[in-house]
Each structure stands twice: as structure tokens, then as C-alpha cells.
């Protein structure tokens, strides 16, 4: 079965017969006469993939996206893996030539409108735009529209959502100017698709995206205030829980701009600074992915934790530029659309090239009646972003009371194209997000973009790559034959406090996963053999290891069988489980995309797949194989750590790893060695402990297989040479701490480690393993002390090395209380 060709044949027949409603609109592949469209002819004539190929490619895509850790969280939903369909949206060169001009013009126009609204406001005073359209829109930020403010280029990046009408014309359904997202996804889609469909991609001769991206980097740096030679840019993110965290982090990582959150920045002397381990560093450009209203708790929303107090003031003084400017959101206003043709004539002196979807404003002459008459068929929105009542009578009443507040847009019968749904190609409606950047003094659209396909028959929504085909394969990519000069070399990586904390916790989670798995594996093996023989040496050893494992898991959840190995491995809802640690690591990895090797995502992807596999197993017997796979995966992360530059970030990461290791060790040793159970059982338990701590080989070599508790304690607690011993870990922490910039030799973390090491030095081995009754009270006491000191140490490290200062709060407003 020939995938796309089959689709063409079927759609062709259907559209000729007008048999189903989905086929009555414009189809991207098939013309009205049933023949394939120009853009597709070349692709369909060649080695076009059949359905079997497409399914294979689809699986490869899923695998690659998983390896890259590409996630997306639709509003109100959990983060899930990004989805990309194997069939791209293809746009031919002739069509693009028109669109390109239209998109560039639109960005220029929106920029001119925003610039005017924040300075002279001539569009209002001359009556080109009814003032209520600007004033009622939430994106109009009055604190940026002060007298004397004048920013001729408030808009650096715009996105326009396009849908194709039945006439075949692309129409703009929405402009995104506040903080446009999606360029990172578009880049990733292309990277993946060009690899899984190399031949098709080559034959299509589509514009490569990389030159656009390079030019965008340069455009962002050029947005810096005048006179700065090598500007520093950062990407301001709302945090790892944000819908498009991947998009933000991937842009930061590939452009070499630090990904920061509000607490990493501070305003001082009217300038914006990045807190780094080397002190404050001046920031010149902020790629703002936080909506304006949340960007400055001092002057905008006071309850925001996502913004930097004083940012508006720094902007007004011209000491920092935002991409896009804080006020740019006003251009997302749907109420602007009906006025764009006149505004374009007036501000740019040319006719508007790219039309918007039919948009009707209630404040226009006859607008109120039009909205009320067509209420049910129009897509109704408000200027100020307020909700639309579901009750028709209430809606009618509101439109009648304040018609100027309402905007209605024509419902569009968008074009359709195939996407893989289940194991077949089905028609999907398609929407195309285009991106346009400021390029020198003009604007330049990306020949490509990000498309979204929504199934016409099912529920599926999936992204698509967009291939804009070149007129001649020899044409320069993106039409950028001359790259703009790069104004600065790769900005040296700086480590904001937020990333320092993430590095630390990444270290802890990596080791937590490894050590939990190392404990889980012998538990599982022993459980298979000794589950029903509790009194046997093996059964007792199992009980001891389980006790250690239980300590890592939630004890409070009475519903979970505390000894259930399946949930301990793969139930992310169970605190302390391997799955939960993997979820945490994956989340942290997203915000470290700009700091660490992309191999990290390969590992988290592999871990997630092994977890999925374990969840699908019917019996517990083979769970061990999945755990082995995970262990192999997490061990590969040692490579990531080894290849890190030996800077403060690496040290913080190593401290995290080492504290976690020490803490896991004491958690294991206390139940395992603190009690005497008879020589046969003890031997079994000690063997298991040595295996879990990877010290069996060393032990055998040193003690020739003679297992005594003193030897085990010596090797795992007091030994300064064994990398798995407590002392070794503490000495490592001591070294790393002393090399951190905030350390003075007497900081609390340093004092705590010194005390711990002194405690070990003062400990006499023979004394330590003395038995009283069944127990070894001195050993237990030492391990409990060390555990609680490690807690304090972790807390102290967070306070001294990872925190960004005291918390922020709004000052209470004085009430006006006079009669």
C-alpha cells in the first residue's frame, strides 16, 4: 500500500464526489480535480514512503524525541513527550514568495503600531484606531508609555498563526507578539525529520532552518542598548513547569544564552544584573518568555514571583532591552485586525498584503447588530481577555451594553492534509505558525515554521514540520546569502543560582537512581528465591535489604505494600521510587539544557522507556531486566559528569552526587550492620551489602573472602582509599566545598564537614563494632548522627551556595482612610 499516493487517490475520488464534509474544503495534497498539488508533485514522483515506511519512521521519530527529552505541557495537563507527524506540510516556492512579503510587512506594521502607541499615539489622536481598542487591551502597559519614552523597535520576534481558507488563501488567525513560542520546537522538528527521511528531505530542496536561527541570535544581540560592544543576553523563563519549557531551554542552549528565572536576576543602580558565582554580571538583552504583566512585581502584578522588581525602571532608563518589549503584547489584540488595512496605508504607505481572518468589532458602525445577528457562528472574544458567557441571552445582553468590548471572528474551514493516526493516514485540519524576526532595519520571516494538525475524524493533535520548497535547489537557505555579522562570540556560560541548585539536585537524583537500583536488584533476586523462606539466611538477607529500601520509600502511604518491589521501581506516585526520581531528574534536566551535554536526555529517555516497559510486564519475574537496563543507562551519566568543565557548576554537581552517596550508604548500613543475626545470616547480609556498595571485589582482595563485620565497617565507613566509603565521600565534599567562591574556610557547610571528618578520625574500629545484646549500639549511634548531620549539611549548602537571597514580598499598600 502506497501511503501518500493512496491518500491522494482516495481524497481525489472523495472530493470529486463531494462525499464527506472533511473533503469539501481545501486539501494540501490534492487539488479540486483530484491531481496532486504542485508542491507535492516532486515528492510523490520520487521514492515516496509507503505506509509501512511511515510507521517505521514514526517510531524512529518517537525515539529521537525521547532521546532529546522534548516535552510539552498543554495548559492544565501534565508534561508529555512532544509529538511530530512524519508527513510535513509542504509549501511551494511561488506561494512562499507572496507570503514572505506579507509576513515581513505584517511584522513591520505591528512594530510601527506598538512603537506609536507607546510614544506619540498618533494612531489614536488622528482617529486611525478607536482609542478603546488600545486602552481596553491588557497588553497596553501604561508604565511603559510614559512621556519621553520612545522605542522605535519594540518588536524583534513575531509569530502569526495561519490557516488556509477554502479559497486557497492563507489568512492570519492570530498574531503572537507578547512572547512568541515555538521556534525551538520548529528547529527540533526539522532536525528529527531530516534525519528520519533523509532522502525525501534532500529531494524536496526545502530551506534549511539553521541560517534563520543564526540570524535570530544576532538580531537578539543587536537589540542591546546602543554602544555596548559585546552584549550579554539571557532567556527569562517562568520555570520548569511552564508549558513550553523545552522551547525556552533549547533556544537558550543553542544560542548560548543562559536560561534564567527571575530570582537569578536583580536590578541595581537602574541596570539589570545576573547573579553568578563570579558576582553580578550586567545583562543587556532579555529574551522574555514571561508575560509582561508578570515581569515586574514592583510596577505590574504585585503577586508575581516570575518577575524582577525594578525591571520596568531599568527598561525606561534604556539600560536593558527586552525581546519583545514589555508593551508589545498590545499587538496581539484581535480588535486591531479590522483596522490593519488602513493602518498599513497610513504608517507604511502601502496596501496590506496578508489578510486576517474576517474580524468584526462591535464598536464599529453596525458592528453591534452584526455581532448579535451572527453570534452563534462567529468565534467571540473580548478586547480585555474576559471570558465569554456560554448563555446566548447573557452574551447578547453584554454585547448590547458594551458593544465596543466585543470582537467576533469568522469560523474558518481550514485546509486538510494527512497525518498518521494509529496505523493509517487520516485527514487532519492544519494550522501553521510562522515566525518573523527583525533583521537589520526590516523584518524577515522563517521559510518554515511549526504546523499543528488536528484529526478530522479522531481526537489526535500532532505537530508537523513545514517544508518551504526552494525555487531552485541552489538558492541560498532562508534567502540569507549574506549572514549578518555576529556581534559577539559565544557568550561564556555563566551559572545563575537557579542552575546551581539544579546542578546539585541533578547530582543527587542521578546517584539516588543508581543506588536505589543497586539495592533494588539484589532485593528482587533474593525475593524470587527466598520469598517463601523467611527464616533462611537468604530470606533474612532479603528482610534486611527490604528494610533499607523501605527507608527510601514512603512509609506514610498505608495503601501501598511497603515491600512491593514493582511500585518501588515503576510507580512515579510512590515517593522515593526509581520512577519518581527519574521524573524529578527529567524535570531538572529540562532547565539545565543550556548547561549540560545533550546526552543527558538520551539517558533520561532510555530510563523513561525502560520504566514504560516495566509497567507493561504482566509478571514481576522479569522486572529485573528493566532495572538492569536502567542501571546501565544511569551509569552512562557518569560520562556526562566526567566530560563537564571543572568549574563551580561541576563542583556543585559533584557535591550533590557525593552527599547522596554518603546518605544512601548510612541508610543501608544502619539496618544491615547494626544488628547481629548469627554467622550464617550475617555472611549473607554482608555479601549483599558489599555487592550493593560495589565493594565486593575490593573486600575479597583485601580480606581474602573472610567476611567479618569489622572489615566491612572499616572498608565502607573509615577507609580513606575506597571511593565507596563514607570517609572518602566526606573528604571529596570537603575538597569541592573549599574550591567554591562563597567558601571562606569557616562557612557552615565547611564546619559541618570538618566536624564529621573529625568524628570519623576519633572513632576506634574495635570500639565501634562492640556488641551489646543483639545490637551494635555505637555503630548505630554513629550512623544516625552522620545521617542527621548530612541533612544539616545539605541544608547549609543550599543556603550558602545555592540560594539567591531572602524571599521577595510586596509591601502592604497604605489604605486611604479619610472621610
Amino acid at each position: 500500500m502506497n501511503g501518500l499516493r493512496d491518500y491522494v487517490a482516495t481524497r481525489g475520488a472523495l472530493s470529486l464526489l463531494a462525499l464527506d464534509s472533511a473533503s469539501s474544503g481545501y486539501d494540501e495534497l490534492v487539488a479540486q480535480d483530484g491531481a496532486p498539488r504542485a508542491a507535492w508533485r516532486r515528492l510523490l514522483a520520487g521514492h515516496e514512503p509507503d505506509l509501512v515506511d511511515l510507521r517505521r519512521v514514526d517510531a524512529e521519530i518517537e525515539r529521537m524525541l525521547s532521546d532529546d527529552g522534548v516535552v510539552y505541557a498543554p495548559p492544565g495537563q501534565r508534561q508529555h513527550q512532544w509529538r511530530l507527524d512524519p508527513v510535513p506540510l509542504v509549501v511551494d516556492a511561488a506561494e512562499w514568495a507572496d507570503l514572505e512579503k506579507g509576513l515581513a510587512q505584517r511584522a513591520e506594521l505591528l512594530n510601527a503600531i506598538v512603537a506609536d502607541l507607546y510614544a506619540e499615539r498618533t494612531v489614536l489622536s488622528q482617529g486611525l484606531l478607536p482609542p478603546e481598542i488600545a486602552f481596553a487591551h491588557r497588553g497596553f502597559v501604561r508604565s511603559l508609555a510614559r512621556p519621553g519614552q520612545n522605542d522605535p523597535a519594540p518588536v524583534t520576534i513575531t509569530a502569526a498563526d495561519l490557516s488556509r481558507a477554502e479559497t486557497g488563501e492563507w489568512l492570519v488567525t492570530a498574531d503572537r507578539v507578547q512572547a512568541p513560542s515555538g521556534i525551538g520546537f520548529a528547529m527540533e522538528n526539522r532536525r528529527v525529520l531530516s534525519r528520519v527521511l533523509p532522502q525525501l528531505h534532500r529531494e524536496a530542496a526545502a530551506h534549511r532552518l539553521a541560517p534563520f536561527f543564526q540570524a535570530l541570535r544576532s538580531a537578539i544581540l543587536q537589540a542591546a542598548p546602543d554602544g555596548i560592544e559585546s552584549p550579554r543576553a539571557v532567556v527569562l523563563s517562568p520555570g520548569p513547569m511552564s508549558e513550553t519549557v523545552y522551547d525556552q531551554a533549547s533556544i537558550a542552549a543553542s544560542m548560548g544564552f543562559p536560561l534564567v528565572e527571575a530570582a537569578d536576576l536583580t536590578v541595581s543602580s537602574g541596570c539589570l544584573w545576573l547573579r553568578s558565582l563570579d558576582g553580578l554580571q550586567r545583562v543587556d538583552v532579555v529574551v522574555r518568555r514571561v508575560d509582561a504583566a508578570w515581569s515586574d512585581p514592583l510596577e505590574l502584578r504585585g503577586d508575581s514571583r516570575l518577575g524582577v522588581p525594578g525591571l520596568s525602571e531599568a527598561v525606561r532608563r534604556g539600560n536593558v532591552r527586552l525581546v519583545n518589549s514589555l508593551g508589545a503584547g498590545v499587538a496581539e489584540n484581535p480588535g486591531l485586525m479590522p483596522f490593519l488595512p488602513d493602518l498599513c496605508e497610513e504608517l507604511l504607505g502601502e496596501p496590506l498584503r496578508l489578510s486576517s481572518v474576517g474580524t468584526h468589532w462591535g464598536g464599529a458602525p453596525g458592528g453591534r447588530d452584526l455581532l448579535i445577528d451572527r453570534m452563534s457562528e462567529l468565534r467571540m472574544t473580548t478586547l480585555d481577555g474576559r471570558g465569554v458567557p456560554s448563555d446566548a441571552e447573557e452574551l447578547r445582553r453584554r454585547i448590547e451594553t458594551e458593544p465596543w468590548r466585543w470582537v467576533g471572528q469568522d469560523a474558518l474551514h481550514a485546509s486538510s492534509m494527512p497525518a498518521l493516526e494509529g496505523d493509517r493516514l487520516t485527514p487532519h485540519t492544519v494550522r501553521w505558525r510562522t515566525f518573523t524576526m527583525r533583521h537589520g532595519a526590516s523584518y524577515r520571516p522563517m521559510a518554515g515554521g511549526l504546523a499543528t494538525a488536528r484529526s478530522a475524524v479522531g481526537e489526535q493533535q500532532v505537530s508537523k514540520d513545514v517544508w518551504v520548497v526552494k525555487q531552485d535547489p541552489a538558492d541560498p537557505d532562508q534567502g540569507l546569502s549574506e549572514l549578518m555579522p555576529v556581534t559577539a562570540l559565544r557568550t561564556p556560560a555563566t551559572l545563575p543560582p537557579r542552575a546551581r541548585g539544579d546542578m546539585y539536585w541533578m547530582g543527587r537524583y542521578v546517584v539516588r537512581i543508581e543506588d536505589t537500583l543497586r539495592l533494588w536488584l539484589p532485593c528482587h533476586a533474593l525475593a524470587i528465591d527466598f520469598h517463601h523462606r523467611p527464616g533462611s539466611p537468604g530470606g533474612e538477607a532479603l528482610a534486611v535489604l527490604r528494610a533499607a529500601l523501605r527507608r527510601l520509600m514512603s512509609a506514610s502511604d498505608a495503601l501501598v505494600d511497603a515491600d512491593d518491589l514493582r511500585t518501588a521501581l515503576s510507580d512515579a506516585g510512590r515517593p522515593g521510587s526509581v520512577a519518581q526520581s527519574v521524573e524529578q531528574l527529567t524535570l531538572i534536566a529540562q532547565s539545565l539544557r543550556d548547561q549540560v551535554s545533550p546526552d543527558l536526555f538520551r539517558v533520561t529517555g532510555a530510563l523513561a522507556r525502560a520504566l514504560d516497559a516495566s509497567r507493561e510486564r504482566a509478571s514481576d519475574t522479569h522486572l529485573g531486566e528493566d532495572a538492569e537496563t536502567m542501571l546501565t543507562g544511569v551509569l552512562a551519566l557518569n560520562g556526562v559528569s566526567e566530560n563537564m568543565v571543572r568549574d563551580a557548576a561541576w563542583r556543585v554537581h559533584e557535591i550533590g552526587r557525593t552527599i547522596e552517596r554518603a546518605s544512601q550508604l548510612t541508610q543501608l548500613l544502619e539496618p544491615a550492620l547494626g544488628r547481629r543475626r548469627g554467622p550464617e545470616i550475617d555472611r549473607e547480609v554482608f555479601d549483599a551489602v558489599l555487592q550493593v556498595t560495589e565493594s565486593a571485589v575490593t573486600h575479597r582482595r583485601r580480606y581474602r573472602g573472610y567476611v567479618r563485620v569489622a572489615n566491612v565497617v572499616d572498608l565502607l565507613v573509615l577507609d580513606a582509599e575506597n571511593p565507596r566509603s563514607l570517609r572518602f565521600s566526606l573528604e571529596r565534599i570537603q575538597q569541592h566545598l573549599s574550591a567554591l567562591p562563597a567558601s571562606s574556610g569557616s562557612t557552615r557547610p565547611e564546619r559541618l564537614v570538618d566536624d564529621l571528618l573529625a568524628l570519623l578520625s576519633d572513632t576506634d574500629l574495635a570500639h565501634l563494632v562492640v556488641i551489646e545484646g543483639e545490637y551494635r549500639p555505637r555503630l548505630r549511634e554513629l550512623l544516625v548522627t552522620v545521617q542527621s548531620q548530612l541533612w544539616s549539611l545539605s541544608e547549609a549548602i543550599e543556603n550558602v551556595h545555592l540560594a539567591s537571597g531572602p524571599r521577595q514580598r510586596p509591601i502592604e499598600l497604605p489604605l486611604v482612610i479619610e472621610p
Partner: protein, 290 residues
């Protein structure tokens, strides 16, 4: 012309050190027809590391400050000498039919600026309660001066002055439910009544003189900041009225700033970095006729 010496001191004290404090303050009387500012200073203590003075979107003087020396008390202390005259409105303006003073869709050259004050604002919504309450007064073609006076009078009669029943974020509907509030609530209420019928009206913050000029009655409890409203009568004419005292604004009133509602021009607002859990605010206002 009456001359006043004004002092407005806002202080915050915290139960732990504040290491960084950002603030914006609208505490300087503004220069405008009928009001001259002779002498004006604002002191922030501790001494700010950074201080900015600028004109806000509405032309009010606003101060930005950043205090970086660790402190447990912050003081914003404003002193000024202000000359105020009562602004008289020509009869013809006050007699305009109220409908002709609506800026939306108006052809008057300055109407577009007034539109900002005819729309809903963050703290002044247009609930049906306010629209219906005002409809009884805004009968067709009624002279605007008379209609506004009547609304002010009704609010004064129907709502009780009672501190503590509302907060800085109370909505118009909440004030209707309580049938009580403070000057800021009555001002927001009046704004909602006028704007929901298309009139433009702004929120004005300022002070009311404590010591009355000779021959006038002393108004109660005037030693605090005050708020009232001003209604657009076309061109750049704004009729200022005080719903709390049921009166037209005259030379007893010192104007500091105006905006769409309280949120545009609070005397002081800020963000502090601290481990403190609570702070105490005290405000001292003194307006002396000299």
C-alpha cells in the same frame, strides 16, 4: 488662593532585616491649573542607592527608589508648600446634556484621551448594580453638573462611612453589599456609576485641609490621604467632586495624582526582600493652612 504646608510620611517597620527594598511613590502634589507647588521635597530613609524621578503616564510625578542598606524601618517623607485656588466652571459646561460628555465615538479632538477613563479598570468594574443605581439619576438630557451632584449626594446619603469593612482590593459589588466603606470605595463606586453609562471619570488622590480657612467649618478627620473623582466635561475640563463629603472640590483640596483607580496612584507601593513575616505601616498626614 489658599496656601498649605503639607507633610505626608509613610513608614514601614519590619520584624526582621530587609536587605533590599524597591518602591514607587506618588506623594508629590502636582502642578496644574488652580494648583501651584512652591516647594517640594521627598526624603527616603535609609538613603536609597538609586532614586528616579519621572512623570508617569498620566503626568503625575512618581518616584522610584531602591534601598540597599539593611534596615528594619523604611520612611518616605514628603514635604511641600502648595497654593490652591477653586476652579470655577462656566455655566454652559455644567449645563451640557450628560450624554454629550461621553468620549467613546466622540468627534471632539481631546476625547480620545478621556476614553481611557471611561473604560473598566482593574479596581473599578461595571457591575449591573452600579449601572442600575446610576440610571435613576442619569435621565435623558439632564445637565451633567446637576446629574453628577445628585449622584454624589445619593452616594453620601446611601452609604455609611465605616473604616475596616473594606480593603484596598474591594470591588464595587462588595461596597454595594456592605452599603459602607471609606473614601476610596465611594470614589470607585462613583467612577463605576459614571463609566458604566459612558462618561469618563478619573480617580484623584490627595489631601483635605485640616485647618479650615476663616469662616468655614472644619471637616472631620482630615489628617490622612484622601480620594475623590473628576468627571470629564469635554476639552480638558474635569469637574472634581468628593462623594465622601458630598461636595464639589474647592480650595480645601490638594491634588497629588490621578489615574484610572487607586491601583494607578497608591501613595507608596513596593517589593522587599526579607525574611520578615510581618510589617507594620503607619501614615502621618498634616495639611496646615499658612
Amino acid at each position: 488662593m489658599t496656601r498649605y504646608q503639607v507633610q505626608h510620611r509613610t513608614s514601614y517597620s519590619y520584624d526582621a532585616l530587609v536587605t533590599s527594598s524597591y518602591g514607587v511613590a506618588w506623594v508629590m502634589p502636582r502642578r496644574m491649573p488652580g494648583q501651584e507647588v512652591a516647594d517640594a521635597t521627598v526624603a527616603v530613609l535609609p538613603e536609597p542607592e538609586d532614586l528616579g524621578i519621572s512623570s508617569d503616564y498620566y503626568g503625575n510625578e512618581v518616584r522610584y527608589f531602591h534601598v540597599t542598606s539593611p534596615h528594619t524601618e523604611l520612611v518616605v517623607d514628603a514635604h511641600s508648600v502648595v497654593d490652591v485656588a477653586t476652579v470655577e466652571f462656566p455655566r454652559a459646561l455644567l449645563d451640557r446634556a450628560w450624554e454629550t460628555c461621553r468620549p467613546l465615538g466622540s468627534a471632539e479632538p481631546r476625547a480620545w484621551r478621556a476614553v481611557d477613563f471611561a473604560l473598566e479598570s482593574p479596581l473599578v468594574e461595571h457591575p449591573d448594580s452600579a449601572r442600575e443605581y446610576a440610571a435613576a439619576t442619569l435621565s435623558p438630557e439632564r445637565p451633567v453638573g446637576e446629574a453628577v451632584s445628585e449622584l454624589v449626594h445619593r452616594i453620601h446619603a446611601d452609604f455609611a462611612y465605616r473604616p475596616g469593612v473594606t480593603s484596598v482590593t474591594s470591588t464595587v459589588d462588595e461596597v454595594f453589599a456592605a452599603q459602607a466603606g471609606v473614601c476610596q470605595d465611594f470614589t470607585h463606586l462613583l467612577l463605576s456609576c459614571l463609566r458604566s453609562h459612558g462618561l469618563a471619570a478619573r480617580y484623584v488622590s490627595g489631601y483635605l485641609a485640616t485647618t479650615p480657612p476663616p469662616g468655614r467649618d472644619r471637616l472631620v478627620g482630615a489628617d490622612a490621604s484622601h480620594a475623590w473623582a473628576a468627571v470629564w466635561l469635554g476639552d480638558d475640563h474635569w469637574l472634581a467632586v468628593d462623594p465622601t463629603n458630598d461636595t464639589r472640590v474647592d480650595d480645601r483640596y490638594v491634588t497629588v495624582a490621578w489615574g484610572r483607580d487607586y491601583g494607578d496612584v497608591p501613595p507608596v507601593k513596593g517589593t522587599v526582600f526579607t525574611t520578615a513575616f510581618s510589617s507594620e505601616l503607619s501614615v502621618y498626614v498634616d495639611v496646615q493652612a499658612v
